[in-house]
């Protein structure tokens, strides 16, 4: 009881001080010097009509590379913690099959999920969404497959090939920027194209496609690992 009181006092102090801090900077007040620059110059400089994408992939594309690496690291970490040897991975426990509607429904819906995900990441520079979202949607399709057909397996080496290749694409595109006169990583060296056209804003769509593939592969891998932890024989420790 005393502990609870003490900690509530602690939390109250922290919250109060945070409130004091943010009271000095009211929400919506125009303090965003960099943000303003993005708003004013983003479309012209990057050729992407989705200003968020221009920030995420172009201005702060290096952060995105980091995020991609974080996701990669998380997937690899999950793969390590839930690692099951190859032969055990194939031995599945008996599972009660889900009902008919789930099985048939998911079979119908699966291609559409893939299509939707692909759409999202291909149009990342034009419409809301992008590689991360599209990849996550595609991975959710795999999740659906796993739920409907517990026997589903994905070819892990192909998945890691995809994620590796996607990552390499991202970096090689970035490195190519170093060859340009600006000599800057992730320099947008392709023509900007016409605003709102699918083939516009230089390397942004290519990167987003790579990210889409990568995220999809990684999430699919995570799902596979987690499912395997439950249903593979080797999972019994």
């Amino acid at each position: 009881m005393i502990r609870k009181i003490v900690y509530s006092i602690f939390l109250a102090t922290i919250v109060l001080s945070l409130v004091m801090f943010f009271a000095a900077f009211p929400f919506g007040q125009n303090k965003m010097s960099v943000g303003e620059y993005y708003l004013n110059h983003g479309v012209a400089q990057t050729g992407a009509s989705n200003i968020v994408t221009s920030v995420v992939v172009d201005y702060r594309g290096f952060d995105t590379l980091g995020e991609v690496s974080v996701l990669f690291g998380a997937a690899a970490g999950v793969a390590i913690l839930f690692f099951v040897l190859g032969e055990n991975r194939r031995k599945r426990r008996e599972q009660v099959a889900p009902n008919f509607i789930v099985r048939v429904g998911s079979r119908i819906i699966f291609p559409f999920i893939l299509l939707f995900g692909t759409y999202i990441f291909i149009h990342g520079h034009l419409t809301p969404g992008g590689g991360f979202q599209g990849g996550a949607i595609i991975a959710s399709g795999f999740l659906l497959l796993y739920l409907a057909y517990p026997g589903t397996t994905v070819n892990r080496s192909r998945l890691s090939m995809v994620e590796g290749l996607a990552g390499i694409t991202f970096i090689v595109l970035g490195l190519y920027g170093l060859l340009m006169p600006e000599s800057s990583f992730l320099y947008n060296f392709l023509p900007k194209g016409e605003l709102n056209a699918l083939l516009s804003s230089g390397i942004l769509p290519i990167i987003y496609i790579a990210i889409g593939f990568k995220v999809a592969a990684e999430f699919a891998g995570i799902i596979d690992d987690m499912m395997c932890e439950v249903i593979c024989r080797g999972g019994e420790k």
Partner: protein, 496 residues
Amino acid sequence: MVNLANPILLIVIPLLFVFLIAFSSAFSKSAAKYLPIIAFGINVVVAMLLVPEVLKNGLVLSTTAGFKPPIAIDMIVDKLALFLVIIASVLGFVVSIYNVAYIDEEPEEKFYALFTLLITGIIWMIITGDLFNLFVAFEVTSIAAFGLVGFHRDKGSVEAGFKYLVMGAIGGSLLLVGIIMLYAATGTLNIIDVAQKSAELTFQQKFLAYALIFVGLGIEGALFPLNAWLPDAHPAAPSSVSSILSGIMTTAAIYAIIRITNIIFDYNQIYLFLMFFALLTLIFGEIAAYYQKDIKRMLAYSTIGQTGLFFFAFTIHSTNGLQGAFLQIINHSVSKSMLFLVVGAMIVQVGSRNIEDFVGLGRKMKVSSFFLAIGMFSLMGMPPFFGFWSKLKIIFAALQHSNALMIGSVVIILLMSVVEGAYFFKLLQMMFFGKAEQDREIKEASFGMLVPVVILGFILLFISFYPTPVLDFAHQAASDLMNKNYINLALKLGGL
């Protein structure tokens, strides 16, 4: 032609190899073993190419996306950063060699990918010039470290990994909140821009943001009382990973604290506050290490103590103090990494982490034990090893301010050095002069594990007996930091 002396390559090349490892694992198992060596080999070369540039200009700046900061992210390598980058790259290279012989557990390719990612993240933390990018690098490092700590998948390592995950995640969130607060206050994320825009803010306004950033980084940087994950995580991880975690990762986090404190929060009050943390870290690390029965846990606590020591040297807030801090960072990085590598090799032979089982190893594993002894002597600050020079500098720097606080701190530091001597000598005499009760089948460590140890050992011996260039370089780095050359030169080179 591409200018290879580009800081961004330090991050991007290893990252490329991370993805290459993932890619190659699809068709070749053994390629993954050797790719990290190539990656960090290239990194060492790039870092070496940067040396003349940095010495000439004082700082090398590289932008991304073809825009100038603060619009886009920039990477800045000044002397101090270069210094740490070289350590990180060399350690990465050497420990990658060690891994080839050391790691024999599945899933190897994931291990190598994460291992490479870990060091990439560390280098990234060191050279980034952008606060949010720092957070990203912090996350890259932490995420890679979480997975690696749990690599053995036994009860201890999973538990340790979980503790680390929880505390690291809290740290990451606090860091993020702190960065957001700074962003709210200034509307920009570039460190130098933040520093300039926040100049008109009062100490009180900035302090909470600073405290959150400090706590977030302090969790990773092993400052007491935020370091409780460390004594569990370092022993549980594979020895090569412990070597990196102890040798450079905590250092990188401390470096980030130093950088941010120096650039954005350069207030005298803060240094007193930090000194308090540094001394507590030192005291608790060293005393706790004394009681440990598990050799890796002992080394892990000793890492806490050493961190306290060089953080203390930073909080002296003078050129001399900073020089001492940097020297101690080198000493700690090289020695402690080497110790973890040696101990890893010994654990493979002995099959236990208990100190009692190391009795008489000095006669069985002569080369390993020799380098273990050198590393320990250097950490204790015994002449003629490098630790002596750094300890000398730190104490000299501290006593330049002859007030009661400093004298008291020096007494504490030296008392803790005695404690450090107490546990290291206990181990050393047990290894070299103790006799095992039954004869055990113990051989010298395998060649592949000995080579990295010998490389690090020779680096340590070299800088011990020829310290002048390192001392000078550390001095230049320190005076650059004190004179705020980071900001001045970056502005001149178009950093903003």
